[in-house]
């Protein structure tokens, strides 16, 4: 897949929130104000990229060659949780300003289906690595420097970045809509979650048109 196709499909066509229904909780929960939505979006994007950078090699070079695919859920969630913890500590130490702006969103990101989802999606392509002839000893002795792998890794990180940006786009757009909708007169039963979901429904309809591009 070429780079442009990845970018367009990650941002619009396969938009994480509106098309794949991943990361709905922060999408509905942290979209009251544009500023906080932007903070959440950036936090999610950062963690997504880091997740792809770390989880892809772990899966490809450790779990798949050893036939331990069934451990993926446990390993991914543990790796992601510790990474977020480390990121939080690093931010606190080296950039207190950024930490106070983004820090509150980071713990929320850990238990977010968007993050575990991206780890699953980017490793989906290597599920049958053992069939392709890689075995653990190859990896261990460094025989696995192969162009395809590097390409797969690049694609994984790139899609992590752009799925994250797609999430940011959707959540910021929804926050803008909600700020406008606050001024409307909404029937009482629709107040709160239902009206937010109706706004998301219109956004999903708009994003649906992007499927005609590809």
């Amino acid at each position: 897949m070429d780079v442009f196709a990845i970018i367009i499909s990650a941002l619009f066509v396969d938009n994480f929130v509106l098309s794949q229904f991943l990361g709905i909780c922060p999408f509905l929960g942290v979209s009251k104000k544009v500023n906080s939505a932007l903070g959440m979006g950036i936090a999610v994007t950062a963690v997504m990229v880091i997740t792809c950078v770390v989880c892809y090699p772990i899966y490809t070079f450790l779990l798949a060659p050893m036939g331990l695919q069934y451990l993926r859920i446990l390993v991914f969630i543990l790796v992601i949780a510790s990474l977020v913890q480390i990121l939080e500590m690093v931010l606190k130490r080296f950039s207190p300003g950024l930490y106070s702006a983004m820090g509150i969103y980071l713990p929320l990101v850990t238990t977010n289906c968007a993050i575990l989802g991206i780890a699953n999606i980017v490793t989906e392509t290597v599920k049958d690595a053992s069939k392709a002839g890689y075995v653990f000893s190859d990896v261990f002795f460094g025989n696995l420097v192969n162009v395809n792998m590097a390409k797969g890794y690049g694609e994984a990180v790139l899609s992590g970045l752009f799925y994250g940006l797609g999430f940011t786009l959707a959540i910021v757009l929804l926050a803008g809509l909600r700020q406008k909708a606050d001024k409307l007169h909404v029937p009482k039963p629709l107040k709160g979650f239902p009206i937010t979901m109706l706004l998301a429904c219109f956004m999903a309809m708009a994003f649906y048109l992007f499927t005609t591009i590809v």
Partner: protein, 227 residues
């Protein structure tokens, strides 16, 4: 456990604190799985019930052992273990369902309902209560999920439980945007009904209280007259 407490937990899980319609938790699988048909909804519900019951059981058993500071990672690891079990079981025995649910089966780990129940109920309640809570929360989730799935399947595909009923269909409801619309309407309608019933019950209780008071007064006054 007393019967009254059991009734309370059952009512809380299925109606008063229905995870999907009242608390609006676990939205991702709700939106995604309801579009896959009612059978997938039942399968997803069964998986969630299993994970909820067993994670609540284990967390409740370990509630005095797990240190407070690292409780969330501990909960997640316990939940992830049971999700792995469900996922492997489905891959082995229910291949079709496994393929349909796909990524959403693994994502039960980060489903807020399960972590929410672990944090707010199982971590400081006795074992039997926690198991019941997990069971009824799971049933509440399954019921609302399946109802939504049935509505979307009938309207969007003209089918029910995979059986074609008629050719009339509104494809919108089977699409992504239809998921948001159905969910929004379900929450709105459920809240209207819930509030109406609650108001009626409150009214009834108030009227009962007034009647009891009057009776007591009347009894008191007759006693006074007799005296």
């Amino acid at each position: 456990m007393k019967l009254k407490r059991f009734k309370e937990i059952a009512l809380d899980g299925t109606v008063r604190q229905n995870p999907t319609l009242r608390l609006v938790l676990g939205t991702c699988p709700t939106l995604a799985v309801t579009g896959m048909g009612a059978i997938s909804c039942l399968g997803m519900g069964a998986a969630v019930i299993f994970v909820l019951v067993f994670s609540n059981l284990i967390i409740s058993l370990l509630r005095n052992v797990i240190p407070d500071k690292v409780r969330i990672p501990c909960f997640i690891m316990i939940i992830a273990t049971f999700v792995t079990i469900v996922s492997m079981f489905m891959e082995a025995y229910m291949e079709k369902l496994f393929a349909t649910l796909g990524i959403f089966l693994d994502l039960i780990v980060v489903n807020c309902i399960i972590l929410g129940r672990a944090e707010s109920f199982a971590s400081h309640n006795p074992v039997l209560d926690s198991v019941c809570d997990g069971l009824f929360m799971g049933i509440g989730f399954t019921l609302s999920l399946t109802l939504m799935g049935i509505v979307r399947e009938i309207l969007g595909k003209g089918a029910l439980f995979g059986v074609q009923l008629w050719n009339f269909k509104i494809a919108f409801f089977a699409e992504k945007a239809g998921a948001f619309l159905t969910y929004a309407l379900f929450i709105a309608i459920f809240n209207v009904c819930y509030n109406a019933v609650e108001r009626k019950l409150k009214h009834k209780a108030a009227r009962n209280a007034v009647a009891i008071e009057r009776e007591a007064e009347a009894a008191a006054s007759t006693e006074a007259k007799e005296a």
